[in-house]
């Protein structure tokens, strides 16, 4: 099949790259001006290079948001009736079976309400015998064939080869031929029947479309951290995703769930190999979704994300520790893609997507390296020579370069904040704020999210830097089970998880104060949140009232969401042990 890179996609890419290069060059010039005013050292050269790369990354992210701002509605085309045989796949492994079965039941009823006939298949990878029994018991009422119900299948895999990707692959090989499309979910996914119907119709209407990815909204958060993530995902993410959609064109992303795939395309292109060598770089491909998207594109299929598709939901981590644990796995998965950069036949954009994923994690280490280089450059700077000439009457004072440094700081801060405030302005103009409690409440939400993420960012930087160093030193993080639901942490738990960050923050602050006192104030926005890490981890895990980070899903929950909550809160027919199994 012919690859089509449209002029529009190319234009967006050139614009984004041009913007990022312009910002990075400006930052490097300012840093060069400030660093080399009095000669300059190897450390100065290092920090110029580092500021170029880190600013390039920041500006690339900002460009993505800015490109996503215009809401250019595409022509609505006539879609066929969603009659193609479709299976909804629910791969699970050691999940809360009561919640998982309640989600499936809610989706099954939503599909029936939409007049849609699809099948469901629960693909279990749970190994513990007792957990298997509880899981099967939870799903059993849905498995019995009834004329008024859609068909639900369940099977437990005896060989867990290849984890989630292997689980789906086994199903596709063995039974996939019975269906044309497969909707792939995660254990915490929820989708409206109408949404699934729309996706099937889209796949039927576009025979070259191999995979259609939705942008799931995060739901179910109750803590300060969880609700801030929910708000950001609901308020900012659609614009970022629209930017991504414009940049990626037909070489779009797959995020592993809440997507529909053409079974034939998946079978043809996505049999994943085990990589040679041991983990973390060899063995099972962890972030399989990115690789599958690249392989579908290599096979000539279109892969698209459509953030305009509503009715797609997932849950997110409800505290920083759960987020960092998931991020550790993603870090390893993305760094593993270093191995795949030269994979034969991939599209250039797919390779670039791998580079982006790798850079997303390496950039934390580069920011840390920039701070270290800045301290060392200041420490090794020679003392100013006020009388460079032998018979000089008046002293020559060194140029003050504070202005350049302040300009640089404002520029970097601007790149971080500009997208969020631009999205706020766009939301007000497009009358998108009523769902968020009105313009004032939305503004308060954006401001609170900016403040919160400014405090949390140095803590995340510490976790990501540790994760990168662990992976690069060959430590395999494995595949710990996701912790969903209640996210409240105790103070001792928070100290145990973040105490090392506080100690590092204190050490950096003291070392900077001793070696380069002039830099201390510049590093306070990083060192203070690091020192307060345990407190931040604890405080952000506490539940908050839903007044601050209000989302449209709070005011008008989607029917499938309301139904799931009703089912989940109903007394469980299972023994108490099953209800609390995870």
């Amino acid at each position: 099949m012919r690859d089509r890179l449209t002029a529009a996609t190319l234009g967006w890419r050139v614009t984004a790259l041009g913007f990022a290069l312009l910002c990075a060059t400006a930052a490097a010039v300012l840093m060069t001006d400030a660093s080399f005013a009095h000669g300059g050292s190897l450390w100065d050269a290092a920090r110029v290079a580092l500021i170029f790369i880190t600013t390039l990354w920041l500006a690339w992210g900002a460009a993505q948001a800015l490109i996503g701002l215009p809401d250019l509605r595409r022509r609505v085309r006539e879609l066929p009736a969603p009659t193609a045989p479709t299976v909804v796949l629910l791969p699970i492994c050691n999940e809360d079976p009561v919640a998982a079965s309640a989600r499936l039941e809610a989706m099954e009823q939503s599909c029936r309400a939409a007049g849609l006939t699809v099948d469901f298949a629960v693909l279990s990878d749970t190994r513990d015998r007792q957990a298997q029994a509880r899981e099967y018991a939870a799903f059993l009422p849905l498995l019995r064939e009834r004329p008024d119900r859609l068909r639900v299948y369940y099977r437990n895999r005896t060989d867990n080869h290849g984890r989630k990707a292997g689980n789906i692959e086994e199903f596709i090989r063995r039974s996939g031929a019975a269906w044309e499309f497969a909707v792939i979910l995660d254990a915490d996914s929820l989708m409206e029947g109408e949404t699934i119907a729309h996706m099937i119709a889209r796949m039927m209407a576009e025979p070259r479309l191999g995979l259609l990815q939705t942008l799931p909204k995060i739901v179910g958060g109750s803590s300060l951290f969880g609700r801030a993530m929910m708000f950001a995902a609901s308020f900012h993410s659609p614009v970022f995703a629209r930017g991504l959609q414009r940049l990626q064109g037909e070489t779009g992303p797959f995020w592993g769930h809440n997507a529909i795939v053409r079974v034939r395309a998946l079978a043809q292109c996505c049999g994943l190999p085990q990589l040679t060598g041991p983990a973390p770089f060899g063995g099972t491909i962890l972030s399989h979704d990115y690789v599958e998207a690249a392989l579908l594109a290599r096979g000539g299929w279109r892969v698209e994300v459509d953030p305009a598709i509503e009715g797609s939901y997932e849950e997110g981590p409800d505290n920083i520790i759960a987020y960092a644990r998931r991020d550790r796995r993603w870090c390893q998965g993305n760094l593993q893609h270093i191995r795949l950069l030269t994979a034969p036949g991939l599209k250039t954009w797919s390779r670039f997507v791998f580079v982006q994923g790798i850079a997303a994690y390496l950039v934390s280490t580069l920011w840390a390296a920039f701070m270290i280089a800045s301290v060392l450059a200041t420490v090794t700077e020679p003392a100013p020579n006020y009388f460079p000439e032998p018979y000089q009457l008046f002293p020559v004072f060194p140029d003050d370069r504070t202005r350049e440094i302040v300009a640089l700081a404002i520029g970097i801060g601007g790149l971080l904040l500009l997208p969020k405030f631009a999205i706020l302005a766009q939301a007000v103009a497009a009358r998108r704020t009523p769902g968020f409690g009105g313009a004032l409440r939305a503004t308060a939400g954006v401001l609170a999210e900016v403040v919160l993420s400014s405090f949390i960012a140095p803590v995340m930087l510490a976790y990501q830097t540790r994760a990168v160093l662990q992976v690069l030193s060959g430590q395999d993080g494995g595949w710990p089970a996701n912790q969903r639901g209640e996210g409240r942490l105790s103070l001792p738990e928070s100290i145990a998880a973040g105490g090392w960050i506080a100690l590092w923050g204190l050490a950096v602050l003291l070392a900077t104060g001793w070696l380069a006192p002039a830099l201390t104030i510049w590093l306070l926005p990083v060192t203070l949140p690091m020192i307060a890490a345990p407190l931040l981890i604890w405080a952000t895990s506490l539940p908050i009232l839903d007044g601050l980070f209000r989302t449209p899903e709070d005011a008008r929950p989607s029917p499938v969401l309301s139904h799931y909550r009703a089912l989940h809160s109903a007394p469980s027919p299972l023994p108490a042990a099953a209800a609390h199994a995870a």
Binding site: A133, R155, N156, R173, R174, L266, A267, G271, L272, A343
Partner: protein
């Protein structure tokens, strides 16, 4: 009894298995991964060519 991939209790429709070829993602060195193996292979090919 819990339906597993080893039995037919799953109730899944009996269909012909789909071919799902394992994709090539690494530029595999036919001689193996280590530089030593690569050198051995090179020498073997040179030897065979001139034998």
């Amino acid at each position: 009894m819990i339906p597993t991939t080893d039995d037919t209790l799953t109730g899944l429709p009996p269909v012909a298995p789909l071919d799902m070829p394992t994709q090539v993602l690494e530029r595999v060195n036919p001689a193996g991964d280590s530089p030593r193996a690569a050198m051995q292979s090179l020498l073997a090919r040179l030897f065979l060519r001139h034998a």
